[in-house]
């Protein structure tokens, strides 16, 4: 009976095939770590890292633009309702 061989899994970050099933032998990163797509180069980089491991583009939180938009929406709604009352 032949022993079961673990499938060869390429590192999602550097593409290296060496190392264990869980950790890359090339870059040392966990192959199962949550990863996000870089808006600049489109490649995956670990979510825990502050910048892309390929092109060094810094990541910004999505809330950085969403929270100001939400605040502006509420201010606009309040201003509009006050203006309508004053007419």
């Amino acid at each position: 009976m032949t022993p079961e061989v673990a499938p060869l899994v390429a590192c999602p970050f550097c593409g290296d095939l060496t190392g264990e099933a869980g950790r890359c032998g090339g870059c040392g990163r966990s192959k199962q770590a949550p990863r996000r797509s870089c808006t600049n180069c489109g490649k995956f980089t670990p979510s825990a890292e502050p910048s892309c491991c390929h092109c060094r583009q810094a990541f910004t939180s999505e809330l950085a633009w969403k929270v100001p938009v939400i605040i502006v929406l509420f201010i606009a709604a309040i201003v509009l309702s006050v203006a309508v009352r004053m007419l």
Binding site: A10, P12, P34, R35, I70, F74, S81
Partner: protein
């Protein structure tokens, strides 16, 4: 009406598969902000509140394979923003429930995941989400 068609969802998940890995089920789900925040935002102003909730809602496509649960956070169609994966041999803190509209799936551990899957999310979203929930519940280790 379905949010996504099956083909782009399957294509996005297939791109994440390892050699020899088989995609079994896939479903579309969302994670909305905290219910208290939803009530507060809608009470402040209805239309901006609803827009804020839409902006703060995260959309997920999940795929169950013979080895893993793959979670894709998507936006603007099926554009993959973030990928998380959970090995079926190492699942902790799995909680699932099914109501009349939604199937809820929650996974604990180092990278927690929670989402709810509306029956109209995709053509066969309810069946697929329930199949994923059943498979995860059967494979989960004690929390």
């Amino acid at each position: 009406m379905a949010r996504f068609k099956d083909e782009p969802v399957k294509a996005a998940l297939t791109a994440q598969l390892q050699p020899g890995e088989q995609l079994q089920y896939y479903a579309f789900g969302v994670k909305q902000p905290n219910m208290g925040l939803i009530i507060l935002l809608v009470c402040l102003a209805i239309l901006p509140g609803l827009i804020a909730i839409a902006l703060l809602t995260k959309e997920y496509v999940v795929g169950l394979t013979d080895r893993r649960l793959i979670v894709l956070r998507v936006g603007g169609g099926v554009k993959v923003k973030e990928v998380s994966e959970y090995s079926l041999s190492d699942l902790h803190g799995v909680k699932t429930s099914t109501g009349s509209l939604f199937t809820h799936i929650s996974i604990g551990g180092a990278v927690p995941f929670t989402a709810k899957f509306h029956r109209m999310g995709m053509k066969t979203n309810r069946e697929q989400a329930m199949a994923i929930a059943a498979a995860l519940s059967s494979k989960a280790l004690p929390a």
